[in-house]
């Protein structure tokens, strides 16, 4: 996959893998984002203890985006690694709160 076209920037800090979305989690991006995450997390990795989804560059999260984040959380849970969302803008944070997803996503109050 061409790095510049990768939907996520991946960085590591110890056992924490940070996936920074390059764009909004919207219908037109979600298939590629899902494929990328699925490939990246396909196998459990003993060195990976946590996954952080960084949404600081995601202006919008739509319905498919919500579902993608839930799937990512499920995958992390299956693999026994921690999961949290960081960097969400106020509107996206509000969206998660409205639907009571903040606990599931480990969202911290500002």
């Amino acid at each position: 996959m061409d790095f510049e076209k990768k939907p996520f920037l991946v960085t590591r800090d110890g056992g924490a893998w940070r996936f920074t979305a390059r764009e909004s989690l919207m219908a037109r991006h979600v298939p590629a984002q899902r494929a990328f995450l699925s490939a990246a997390l396909e196998a459990a990795n003993p060195d990976r203890t946590a996954v952080v989804l960084d949404l600081s560059r995601a202006a919008v999260v739509d319905s498919l985006g919500i579902t993608l984040v839930v799937k990512l959380q499920r995958t992390c849970r299956q693999q026994g690694v921690g999961f949290r969302v960081e960097g969400a803008n106020p509107e996206v944070t509000r969206l998660f709160k409205v639907f009571s997803l903040n606990d599931l996503f480990g969202l911290q109050e500002a």
Partner: protein, 269 residues
Amino acid sequence: MAMLADGNLIPGFVAACRVHLDAIEPDLRVLEAGGAAGAEVINRVFRAVHSIKGSAGFFAFEALRRFSRQLEGVLMRVRDGALAVTSPLMDAIRAGVGHLRAMLDDLEAGDRVHADAELAILRAFQDEGPGAPVVARVGGSRARRFNLASDAVRSALRRGLHLYHARAYLHADVDARWQSPLAFLAGVLAVGECLDAFIDTSAIGDLTSDGDACIIMLFASVLEPELLPGALKLPMAQIEVLNLEGPRGALRDVIPPPPDTFAREPRQP
């Protein structure tokens, strides 16, 4: 696919709240004047604060919801005859309404501002809290429960509203028929009161699987059951009237005294 982070709904929410507060100014003055106020006067004030509380909860303005809920609790006691309208009480209500305005003026900051002093004054007028929680379990033991004050259910019942349990699938319903989930919720608020709502994620698997998450609502509306599918743009099969006369799960049986639990059968998406 419509965008979901629908920030332009917030100004409308704030404007609607201000309309509510402006509308009750004459009623507050009547109450402050100390004359005999009819039940409808206090009812109007109550309904305004109740509406603000419901909308604030929907839009996740937690401090605003919490404060308006406390004010609503005091107004409820006045409406029910448990509290007399006195000058100290009206001072507290007036201060409460003023604080609501201040929170609306600076909503983002207001959601973080503590109102301990104002809340303490309001609590002084309440011998008891806002009622034991009504807990309704949906989707089996793994699903999140509705959790709301029983007074909210009582209030809806007293006002003759129908209670509904409704499901809206994110992709099949919300994306297909509404601009976004928040637009869907705004549409819901236009025809009734959402007592609680959450997304049931139990049908969602990992990254390799498919599945459609579902918004689940406990909803009160004056609309008759046959009108609700059109208003909410949902199939009738996804809307269930909570029959208060039913032998199982009748809400009158789950409002305190305890146990205050409303258990429902697991539902298949």
